[in-house]
Subunit: 347 residues, 2 copies
Amino acid sequence: MKSKAKRVRRHVTIREVAKAAGASVSTISAALNNSDYVSADMRSRIEAAIKTLKYCPNDLARGLRLQKTHSIAIVVPDLSNNFYIELVRGVKDYSASASYTILIGDSRENWEEERNYLDSFHRRRVDGVVRVPAMNTTGGKAKAILGNLPVVYADRHPREHDTHIGRVGVDNTQAAKSATSYLLSLGHRDIGIITGDASSGTSRDRLRGFISAIRSAKIRLDRSMIHAGHNDMESGHFHAMQLLTRGQRPTAIFCTNNMMALGALAAIQEIGLACPEEISLLGFDDFYWATLLRPSLTVVRQPAREIGMIAARILIDHIEGRSSIPTPALLKTQLIVRDSCCPPKKM
Amino acid sequence: MKSKAKRVRRHVTIREVAKAAGASVSTISAALNNSDYVSADMRSRIEAAIKTLKYCPNDLARGLRLQKTHSIAIVVPDLSNNFYIELVRGVKDYSASASYTILIGDSRENWEEERNYLDSFHRRRVDGVVRVPAMNTTGGKAKAILGNLPVVYADRHPREHDTHIGRVGVDNTQAAKSATSYLLSLGHRDIGIITGDASSGTSRDRLRGFISAIRSAKIRLDRSMIHAGHNDMESGHFHAMQLLTRGQRPTAIFCTNNMMALGALAAIQEIGLACPEEISLLGFDDFYWATLLRPSLTVVRQPAREIGMIAARILIDHIEGRSSIPTPALLKTQLIVRDSCCPPKKM
DNA sequence: AGTCTGTCCCGAAACGTTTTGGTTTTGGCT
DNA sequence: AGCCAAAACCAAAACGTTTCGGGACAGACT
């Protein structure tokens, strides 16, 4: 039994590579970042040493020295919502093409969780973050967590004027307006809407678009038809129940995100209403299995992947000191007409 | 124009906190890791300084010095598969309770992607990784990427004897066997199966269970009823099409993961078969909107979240030098009977 | 012969922490 | 007054990189 057991060295360092290759540390570094002068002979010796020693660079040390990690964080409110998966993949794909690495956070619509993620990413010294803030975010507290890390908002944007270097999403007002107009054009006059929390600028914009369409059609706006949910299935279900069991039942329901549309569909099925004959359902955000539902869902599609890619681009451009697209970037939505909406039954 | 512009200091360091609090660097560190002696007076001065300077610890430096990052990685093959989201959340929740941080990777069933993630996480010096290997993994290459980082496998396990400190999943053979028995008990004799790639031990186990059930029932095994897909919707669709348009059509299809079940459902709908009357469909993995489908899907449910939690526990126990559950840990599945299976029509 | 220009390589300092092994201060006890 | 232990603090050495400023050598040109 050795009392002074040699500490197990978990990782091989550049120094050991240097020794093995008969070179100095700085030469290894130069070879690694294939720059500067290093002869072909030396280079091959180094590569051999790296291979046999199974050297794996230490990004902690690297980032510390460089004051830069070549990585960005993406924090979304709900990974089980396919929209955000697509968004994350957009961020990831663009970042990879710019050789940045991403760190993913899933706040589950919970500010505490989001704060933890943001803090953790900040401590890890990511170079920037693209953020889809959680619903119940109380205020511009993110600033306190992130210091002056560059932030670009995607999909949602904070209500108060938060400091950020850009934001990208769709023209929510316009999208909701034209979606509502579609319902109106089918003949619906009693339309219920289930929006997200009013703390989100995005939800308010969509509601604004809805109201605007109603007003343009010279229809009286019934405020009791407006329900504010929480962007999850449960609240979609709850509010759809409310809408469907009231005295004057709407002939159509517009849900401003996909989770709530699913919840509403569940409510409709539970009550046993025929959709779309007795109740039309219009969702926001498309998802890959929307066609599998019966009826298949009519939705307004957002270019989720593209939103992610552009967010990443704006962020990385900023990080690298390039000027970029003017902010905010507003992308176009598309109404995907499927089977969940039809003209209302005549009474 | 200053030629010698002072470099913008992006982050405030412990040293500046020390100056502001009139203390030494080591005292700040002691206060931060609230240990050692530090007087109440000093402690409050330090806290004040931290607050006003908005100090955020640098985990790169910390990890470098400590040779430990208090973080683990989880890489899964498909984040748009809800099963893996639940698994990730299990890992996350357990890790958080042990005050570990997680890094998420989404390989999209692609070994290149997975390799990139594993490499990136290794360079970041995570303390361990829980891994759900991508399908087309060619071999035990992960070892070459990860060196001797502790790995625990979740859900899937590699075919060849890969080095790892544990694995956790369900008893796939048993699960598939009893699921198949269920179909048999309904009266089905011509059952098609769409499995994952044979390179995965998990897929092979499920197939084994299927075959075992068939054999036990003394039914002739028709190998042309066995199709190997790729765990995605597309291949589920493709192989279901094959099965449904052949001469002797099966009366039931068993899909060994949820994505392929969705693809099969799409195929059934496309062809216009009545499900379950003309064709029963049995899936693997439950997901939150399985009840919204028409028919709602009968599935064998895996405890995804629990798998994640246990995987994290085994990993973290190992990292911290505690002994842990014997490996592999096999959890129980549950057959969730809904509407997509019924007795076959008599011919 | 001397000077210059490349090429190839190296030593040492820095990045922001934690830890080790101190030193100083305090106050209680003879 | 003298001593001692405990309490409170600190300086310096790591951790694994990259970069800066040279140095040695070779060949080309005066």
